[in-house]
């Protein structure tokens, strides 16, 4: 019945805008009414659990929650880059950006009704199958339910206003339309923050009596639990990558089914933008993941140990495989994409080295510290641990290679971006503003790198439960931060005297040598001599890499501004395997989201609310990875199948023959976001 309702909603989305809104409103009213009534129903229940037609309640909630989460990630992720693309369209006055932003939003609008319906279904399932637990959660969070419901209205109204006012709010009203897009993102982010607080509370409860679990009266204290913000940051970034790759896969399917060159060119470009967005989000994602993992450990050492050294440590091998596919796949797609850029032959030869580095890095990332071995196997490798591989399984090696992966991917993208660029314009021609911007960027890096260096130089060993003599190990990372600051200003100085590429190379080399090699090796010393300090080493590595990325990006923007274009981009001239790469990336990130949802939820083991409310149902055990893989695989199949259906429905209303206009050669070249401030030149640089 619920499925019919969801399909009905989606069908009306495709055919008539007004009825779509009504459908959504109906779902939203049902949802809100249920939120208000259900606590009363629940109070009448005495049983803690109900079976779902004599089957597995946990499985039902798992599937529905995961599907809701996936649709939610898409609905929250896409508007972030849709509005940015629209803004670029406004700045460049290039209609194709506006058209692309609208196409992204069309997908969003179709998926929104589904996320609402799935949200309602999830609430029904939770209150129906886990009444006591939901009673408890409602006691703590019921005030936030109302805020959530109201925000859901705001999100819905704003979304439909944004989508349906696209044609009306053009020209001088464009700014107002973009504001609606920004507002949509604000509502979405706050909605996510509220829902995250419920999930993170279950992992790291606060605002309650630690002994009895009774609510102390402040909803805010429960919302502001230790994992709330770390989880929100991780999800926010992951949602962007998720949205980018799902939209990329949509474009890939459309490309494969296209019948005209114009369609292929358009969907090739759309797929490229989706992949670009995903790479931009994937680069900081490991840092956000590390932060979340660290906070999980801080919130509960038992949970943290179980995550990295217990039952769930195996699932991180699967995670590493999936992340490996994402990074290598995204790089491979860029590599193929160079084939459509005249002039990029100069750089293609380097890409294979980048891919070799990536493969080796992922092999290291995948290496477990140890595995259960038979006596014969132990004898064969000379003990419980392999003499060399044991080092690769340690955290320090993994931190080093993650940073190398990020730097390599970034380098790969730099090569792609300059594929069709020739002679550059002298830096002085960009004016004083360019100098000021670079100095401000350098100054900001100086501030945050310098502040952390100061923190390391004055760090109290007792704060890490270390003896005072361990302070001697804190200086080297601080010194490397100072060297990084020096390298940043050297790179900026070289850019000022028209040696920008040398400056970029210097900064990249210094960062790789310090953050990857230097601190990677030093991390082993720290693990032996001052293990708690390893987290500070990881933060140091993160800050150095992120500063390097920021500075090089800004240098690159000016370096290739108005540069000679030696060849055009032949949009649409991509082999079929490139589109299958985009589809693989989409499947992988959806699998990854399913896997991480399982890990996050599973870490609570047999607790509904960790350490407070025990799960006494018959499903309170951690299943095998084989079982998890089947369930997650099934959920991903359901999600991809249903979203393909929703996208198909959303296209039913399109007029026949309304296929995209051909893109001009060179259109959309380079980075759509970073390069949005300029229009690519086809006939060499402008000279004054």
């Amino acid at each position: 019945m619920k499925r019919r309702s969801a399909e009905g909603a989606a069908r009306r989305v495709a055919t008539k805008g007004a009825s779509e809104s009504h459908q959504w409103l109906r779902v939203a009213w049902l949802f809100m009414a249920f939120l208000l009534i259900t606590p009363l129903i629940v109070l009448a229940q005495e049983t803690g659990y109900r079976p779902f037609f004599n089957t597995n309640s946990r499985l039902v909630v798992w599937i529905v929650a995961e599907l809701h989460l996936m649709y939610g990630a898409f609905v929250l992720g896409v508007p972030i880059f849709a509005v940015i693309v629209e803004y670029i369209g406004k700045r460049t006055q290039d209609p194709k950006y506006d058209k692309l932003a609208r196409e992204f939003t069309k997908l969003l609008s179709a998926a929104f009704s589904t996320v609402a319906a799935l949200g309602g279904l999830l609430v029904f399932a939770l209150f129906g199958l886990y009444p006591k637990f939901m009673d408890y959660l409602t006691q703590v969070f019921h005030k936030s339910y109302y805020v959530y419901a109201l925000l859901f209205f705001a999100e819905g109204f704003t979304l439909y206003l944004y989508y349906y006012s696209w044609d009306r709010l053009q020209g001088r009203w464009k700014g107002l339309h973009i504001f609606l897009g920004v507002l949509l993102n604000i509502w979405g982010t706050v909605l996510m923050l509220i829902a995250n607080s419920w999930a993170s509370f279950m992992m790291s409860p606060s605002g309650i009596d630690a002994e009895t679990g009774s609510f102390l009266g402040s909803t805010w204290a429960a919302v502001d639990n230790p994992l709330w913000i770390p989880l929100a940051i991780h999800r926010f970034i992951a949602n962007i990558a998720f949205g980018g790759l799902v939209a990329g896969a949509y474009a890939a399917v459309k490309f494969l089914c296209a019948t005209t060159e114009a369609e292929r060119a358009h969907y090739d470009w759309m797929g490229y933008v989706g992949n670009f967005v995903a790479i931009a989000a994937l680069i900081p994602l490991p840092f956000a993941g590390y932060y979340l993992g660290r906070e999980v450990y801080s919130a509960s050492a038992v949970m943290g140990n179980n995550m990295m050294g217990g039952v769930f440590s195996w699932t991180f091998i699967i995670q590493a495989i999936l992340i490996g596919v994402l990074f290598i796949g995204a790089n491979y797609y860029l590599w193929i994409g160079m084939g459509r850029i005249a002039g990029s032959e100069r750089y293609v030869k380097y890409i294979k080295y980048v891919n070799v580095i990536l493969l080796i890095s992922f092999a290291i990332w995948l290496t477990p510290h140890n595995l259960p071995l038979s006596a014969a196997e132990q004898l064969a490798i000379g003990g419980q641990y392999h003499p060399i591989l044991k080092y690769l399984g340690l955290m320090s090696a993994k931190n080093a290679v993650v940073n190398l992966i990020i730097l390599s991917t970034f380098f790969s993208f730099l090569l792609y971006r300059r594929g069709n660029k020739g002679r550059t314009v002298p830096f002085a021609e960009h004016g004083t503003a360019a100098k000021i911007i670079l100095l401000i960027v350098g100054g900001l890096c100086l501030l945050f790198l310098g502040a952390y260096a100061r923190h390391l130089f004055t760090l109290d060993p007792a704060a890490l439960e270390l003896s005072p003599d361990r302070a001697q190990y804190f200086s080297l990372p601080g010194l490397l931060l100072m060297i990084e600051i020096f390298a940043i200003f050297a790179a900026i100085g070289l850019t000022f005297i028209n040696r920008g590429i040398l400056g970029q190379s210097l900064l990249l080399a210094v960062t790789a040598a310090s953050a990857v090699l230097g601190l990677g090796v030093y991390g082993f010393v720290i693990m032996e001599k001052a293990n708690p300090f390893l987290r500070n080493i990881a933060v140091t590595q993160f800050l150095m890499v992120i500063a390097c990325l920021i500075v090089i990006t800004f240098i690159d923007l000016f370096l290739f501004k108005n540069a000679e274009v030696v060849g055009g981009i032949r949009w649409g001239k991509m082999p079929v395997r490139s589109q299958y790469t985009l589809i693989l990336l989409c499947i992988t990130i959806v699998l990854l989201m399913g896997l991480m949802g399982y890990i996050r939820s599973g870490l609570r083991e047999d607790w509904h609310v960790y350490g407070i409310m025990r799960d006494t149902s018959q499903w309170a055990f951690t299943p095998t990875m084989a079982y998890m893989a089947k369930v997650v695989g099934g959920i991903v199949f359901l999600f991809l199948g249903s979203i393909a259906f929703v996208f198909w429905l959303s296209g039913l209303g399109e007029k026949k023959g309304g296929e995209p206009e051909p893109l001009p050669i060179g259109g959309g070249a380079g980075i759509p976001i970073a390069e949005g401030f300029e229009r690519p030149k086809l006939h060499g640089p402008e000279r004054s």
Binding site: V253, V302, N305, A471
Partner: protein
């Protein structure tokens, strides 16, 4: 269905099957199936047998002991001491426990057997910390581990058997086991009854004002404000119960947080400096006194150095603070979740 789309569907199914295959392979390698069967049996209410085999199972799964402790070459965790021969003193835990029991007997004046030591280290892990390890181990009969009495007995029997003989009778008669039974069965301890309802804002002023009778911020930090002589208190109420905080104010030497033990340094020119050593290298020792002042002493000038068993936090706040001040201060500290 268009042919390219059919290709996409088949491709998707193949990738998903590959993912499922990886899950299957990892399950086989890790031997998870046996774990899950045992977990299912436990969930369905299976009785716990008090035997080393059952203890082994709990140690390596539900008890999560293996996430911090290895046993000989089994496991790879290093956060807690290895319970086999590679551990501290080079003895397996059963023999090590016998020696530690003597140490504990001397320290407490009570009679300890090896079994008592093993049980105490699980149910009151901070009572004795092995040198070089921090006190991160949770009380295993409290959430989130929350082992039952029989499960603790089973784990104890497993640990007894690591280099020693299993003695279930010694487990059953251990006074620490009795303590577990009482603690586990008892309702949660009530919150301390207070005379007054404190004003957290007044307490905050007392905490941060260096001229106030409390002036805690001279030595303690809350949200980046304050001295570094004593432990940071930014989240103290989220980490410790009210009883602990009250005890720390009134009798600061009762429990001294690791890393904040006082040290007495006697210099060659006859100066006596007592404080907490904050930093130290080959040349200089930085020591913070109980007023938050940092003094640097060259190592070459040190004549003697003695670790103290009293806190450098001043005693006597029970007399220094009025009853209202005390309750205001406590109310403020309890907001630091």
């Amino acid at each position: 269905m268009k042919r390219p789309f059919l290709g996409v569907v088949i491709f998707t199914i193949v990738v998903l099957l590959l993912f499922i295959y990886v899950g299957e392979v990892l399950t086989r390698i890790s031997g998870e199936e046996a774990r899950v069967e045992k977990e299912k049996a436990r969930v369905l209410g299976g009785a716990v047998e008090i035997s080393p085999e059952a203890g082994h199972e709990i140690f390596w799964s539900r008890g999560r002991c293996h996430t911090c402790h290895s046993v000989g070459n089994e496991g790879s965790a290093i956060r807690g001491p290895n319970l086999g021969e590679p551990g501290p003193t080079g003895l397996p835990i059963a023999l090590r426990a016998a020696k530690r029991a003597e140490v504990r007997s001397k320290a407490t004046g009570k009679t300890y057997s090896a079994t008592d030591y093993i049980i105490e280290s699980m149910v009151d892990p901070k009572a004795y910390l092995v040198e070089g390890y921090s006190g991160i181990m949770p009380v295993i009969f409290r959430p989130p581990i929350a082992l039952s009495v029989d499960e603790i007995k089973a784990v104890t029997s497993y640990i007894q058997g690591i280099g020693g003989e299993v003695d279930v009778a010694a487990i059953n008669t251990s006074p620490f086991m009795e303590q577990v039974k009482v603690s586990a069965a008892a309702p949660a301890p009530p919150s301390p009854s207070l005379l007054l309802e404190g004003d957290p804002e007044m307490g905050q002023s007392l905490f941060f004002d260096p001229e106030s009778p409390a002036g805690c911020a001279k030595c303690h930090t809350v949200k980046d404000t304050g001295g570094k002589v004593g432990p940071e208190l930014t989240n103290i109420a989220g980490q410790q119960p009210a009883e602990y905080i009250i005890e720390s104010i009134l009798t600061p030497s009762a429990v001294i947080v690791t890393g904040f033990e006082a040290t007495l340094i006697i210099t060659k020119d006859g100066r006596y400096i007592t404080g907490v050593v904050r930093r130290e290298d080959d040349q200089v020792i930085e020591i913070a006194d109980n007023q938050g002042e940092i003094q640097k002493v060259r190592k070459a000038d040190v004549k003697d150095r003695v670790l103290q068993d009293v806190s450098i936090m001043p005693e006597g706040f029970g007399e220094i603070l009025t009853i209202k001040d005390f309750h205001d201060l406590l109310a403020f500290l309890m907001t630091l979740q």
